[in-house]
Symmetry: C2
């Protein structure tokens, strides 16, 4: 459902130039759960942002559901992303002036879609925030904010969800619950998930683990279909 | 070196009131390394902010080196904090317009102290950021930003360091290096560290583990002196 070829992302020039990603080639099949691991600074977030169309590569291509992103102008790219992509950012990127509930339903309201109260309530329960939905991010703990970000990515049931360290701020209990939820989204709803994680337990839930090092893929194992 | 008595922190009123901390009593001895663990939302960050004088309790007292914080006006409290406390925030709180190096040396420059180039270089090496010191936070990966925040807390060699999830965004290699560094600060420099973590491996480095649940301390084991 999402594929990259010769993907390269460079920052800066000359001496100070940083190669965040170098000639990366990878494809993720529909209905699979993949983990992306690697040392701090190895290019994981950069890869995720490029695959989700949130950033443009220095060279190479990204294709989502057969559509090559390079060929899209910003407007069309935004539309594609809105329809097909869910993203859990490493630092949540919640809107501080909105409540947890408003942050979660924002993608639906932007798309002009109706909010199904029942499934919203179910989602809030699933992430353990039913009693916090009126709170703004500043009134929530780190892990609670992270769970809001996760619910927000799930609510539109996108074709592919990119989750950048979704359990980084969660205790083991909440982590398990979130990972179970993501696993179910793949197994029951046929969603595709690409998850960056440093947590071996989180990776264990995935069908496949892609290892990055210094901007390159150095290992890619699993390939088990869901 | 830092102690709390009958520490309570409430948010909001009536029905919506949240008791982040309820009547907490705890003391941390000089030269010890303590971990604070507990479920997401259990009050860990709140406890840390109150102990570090970054927030005021609803009731109860905090004492740092014998000085009771309630008796201090904001100006005096800021001075005490600057002299005695180092803090690694759960979300780093770096200044976006400053480079990594400038963020790290900021506490020294604010205190009007000279920056010792040699120990600065050593610290940058220790956190693996020597080649990134000219980058601004937006040009750094999540884990790199976290390491800047850690170096910033260490540079003034404060009496007590509060670290809120210092390894949350780090791969296992960088985590180990950071934890070794914190352990050495306690063993070699007699510093006191109170570290919030969800990571059992990180907690294993500590002398003592304090468990929070729903705003209360439910377990407190170790008490081994360094
Ligand atoms: N300004 C606020 N208004 C209302 N409730 C708040 C506010 N700040 C924190 N809380 C609540 O206080 C409780 C404790 O928050 P705290 O950030 O201390 O938890 P934590 O243990 O650090 O959680 P995490 O592991 O998720 O970071 C949470 O339930 C949180 O929602
Ligand atoms: N705007 C930028 N300018 C310069 N270098 C950058 C910029 N953004 C990212 N980098 C560099 O690109 C490399 C990859 O960054 P990236 O955020 O993808 O790493 P990561 O694997 O997600 O790390 P972490 O596990 O610490 O989150 C890092 O070395 C980082 O410093
Ligand atoms: Mg990252
Ligand atoms: Mg916290």
């Amino acid at each position: 459902v999402v594929a990259a070829e010769h993907l390269t992302r460079l920052y800066g020039e000359g001496q100070a130039q940083v190669a965040a990603l170098r000639d990366v080639e990878v494809a993720f099949q529909p209905g699979t759960f993949s983990a992306v691991m690697g040392p701090s600074g190895s290019g994981k977030s950069t890869l995720m942002h490029l695959l989700a169309g949130l950033d443009r590569p220095t060279s190479g291509t990204v294709t989502i559901d057969g559509v090559e992103l390079n060929g899209l102008n910003d407007k069309k790219l935004t539309l594609l992303r809105r329809q097909k992509v869910g993203f859990v950012f490493q630092f949540f990127n919640l809107l501080p002036m909105l409540t947890a509930e408003e942050n979660i339903t924002l993608p639906l309201r932007i798309a002009g879609e109706r909010v199904d109260e029942a499934s919203l309530r179910q989602l809030l329960e699933a992430v353990g925030l039913a009693d916090r939905k009126e709170h703004r991010p500043a009134e929530l703990s780190g892990g609670q904010q992270q769970r809001v970000a996760i619910a927000r990515a799930l609510i539109t049931r996108p074709a592919v969800i990119f989750a950048d360290e979704p359990t980084g701020n969660l205790d083991s209990q909440s982590s398990r619950e979130v990972l179970d939820m993501l696993r179910r989204a793949v197994d029951d709803l046929g969603q595709t998930i690409v998850m960056v994680t440093h947590d071996a337990q989180a990776a264990a839930v995935a069908d496949r683990i892609v290892f990055l090092e210094d901007g390159r893929i150095v290992r890619d194992e699993g390939h088990l279909t869901a």
